[in-house]
Amino acid sequence: MTGGLSNAAPGAPLRVSITRKAFRGADGKLVEAIAHVAFEVPGGSFVTLIGPSGCGKTTTLRIVLGLETEFEGSVVRPDPDGRIAVVFQEPRLLPWRTVEENVRLALPEGIGTEDLDELFDVLGLSEMRSRFPTELSLGLARRAALARAFAIRPSLLLLDEPFVSLDEMTAARLRRLLTTVWSARRTTALMVTHNLREAVQLSDRIVFLTERPAKIRGIHEIKVAREARDAEWRETELRRLDREFPGVL
């Protein structure tokens, strides 16, 4: 699917249908995490999963990633052989490798020598390439994690609260960066968050989840182009969503 790396969106969607997921807690009791969560991420679109903390969002993401294999239901990835990129809550960089080495190590054999100047430039990391992650702030480390995710030109991108525990200015800047990079290297993306503002700014579709065990509470489509989503539009949209799904904002 190397043809789908440009702005032309790849066709196949990500289909998720989880009918049950339970795990044993530390006390040995069975915890029902997911009751029924089914949704679709159309090819080349950006979908956000939103819900209260502990509702099973991250578990859903881990199932899609293939890190959790014990569940009932099915996950159909857009391209079974395609690469998956992930940005975890923690940057998960190798502390003993420089920023550039961290990105290059993730590259598949074929594009190991790719020119990364542009990507580092867009993400404002050009000066940081030879730094070690321990020398970076959390915001910069997150950017490095984003660089790694986009560098491999994934057919599916998963983001687990990538802007959590940053100050609002840094988070807003990172969201804009994400939009820029994602528009240039468009791919099918699924993000987990509990921040509705973030979801409204970034997504084509928002999937609302209930408290644990998670069920779909509602699905909201956003047709307005990202460039047209100004502050005024965002406020109107947020108020509307707050009326429809109280308690999320």
Binding site: L65, L94, W96, R97, L105, P108
Partner: protein, 269 residues
């Protein structure tokens, strides 16, 4: 991070020393000279054949250094230490990492480990000589077997402490086996490897001397046995201090530079 904490305490101490216009090198020299002075005074006061003064020890050292005897015995011991060290680190690391990763393997081999940890070095050496003969392989093998359980214990802790978050990252980004070992696993094990090497070198050369004393006709241990029979303390101290100097040189010229390189990514303080 305990290591970072230690580094910070050390850094603080160094800063205070610099403030007092004493470099760490100067302090080390003064400290060693102090020890030498205590020895010299004690020897002068005792005025006995069993406690020679530093010049008497140096005399023996010089005599054997010039004749070449000292270097031959040092080299023999060093050779045994080197082979036993490499064997013990390699075998111990493989077993230790295996036990750290697999809970089953850990349960199965843990009783063996406790048994081997508690067999006295002397018993291993004697049995090795009886079973395999008074030869070099038995000697080196006996030294290595004494060290392997310690390496296993340390490396097992290292393998248990491997970060599952980084393993997941490597899995999703499809790191191959070689890439995963070199860039994800080994850097995490490095502090444990360093710890095992440090305590290993010290332990191994002490055991090597016993091995040489019991069944070899060369090496520092053999010489010390010889001087023991002659009741020549100056000779014993000359060989001991010469070998301690060799081990110190290895620490300063090999172990520390390697460690400095391996940990250069840590935040400088």
């Amino acid at each position: 991070m305990a290591l970072d904490g230690m580094a910070s305490v050390r850094g603080e101490r160094l800063r205070r020393l610099a403030h007092d216009r004493l470099t760490p090198g100067t302090l080390t020299t003064i400290s060693l000279l102090g020890l030498l002075a205590i020895w010299w005074i004690a020897a002068a006061v005792a005025d006995s054949r069993v406690l020679p003064t530093p010049p008497q020890v140096f005399e023996v050292f010089w005599r054997d250094a010039v004749s070449g005897e000292l270097w031959f015995h040092l080299a023999m011991t060093l050779m045994r230490v080197a082979f036993a060290f490499v064997a013990a680190m390699a075998i111990g690391s493989v077993i230790g990492i295996g036990m750290g990763i697999s809970r089953q393997a850990n349960r199965f081999f843990d009783p063996w480990l406790i048994l081997f940890l508690n067999i006295p070095a002397l018993v291993v050496i004697v049995l090795a000589y009886i079973w395999f003969g008074l030869n070099e392989v038995a000697a080196i093998g006996a030294i290595a077997v004494n060290k392997i359980p310690n390496v296993v214990v340390t490396m097992r802790e290292g393998a248990k402490a491997l970060d599952p978050q980084l393993s997941e990252m490597a899995r999703i980004y499809r790191f191959g086996a070689a890439k995963r070992i070199r860039h994800v696993v080994l850097p995490q094990l490095q502090p444990y490897f360093s710890a095992a090497s440090r305590s290993g070198l010290a332990l191994i050369w002490k055991i090597a001397l016993v091995v040489e004393l019991l069944g070899r006709s060369d090496g520092v241990g053999f010489q010390i046995n010889l001087y023991f029979q002659l009741f020549d303390v100056a000779g014993i101290l000359a060989y001991t201090l010469a070998f301690v100097a060799v081990m110190l040189a290895i620490e300063l010229m090999l172990v520390q530079p390697f460690e400095a390189r391996a940990t250069r990514w840590r935040r400088p303080r």
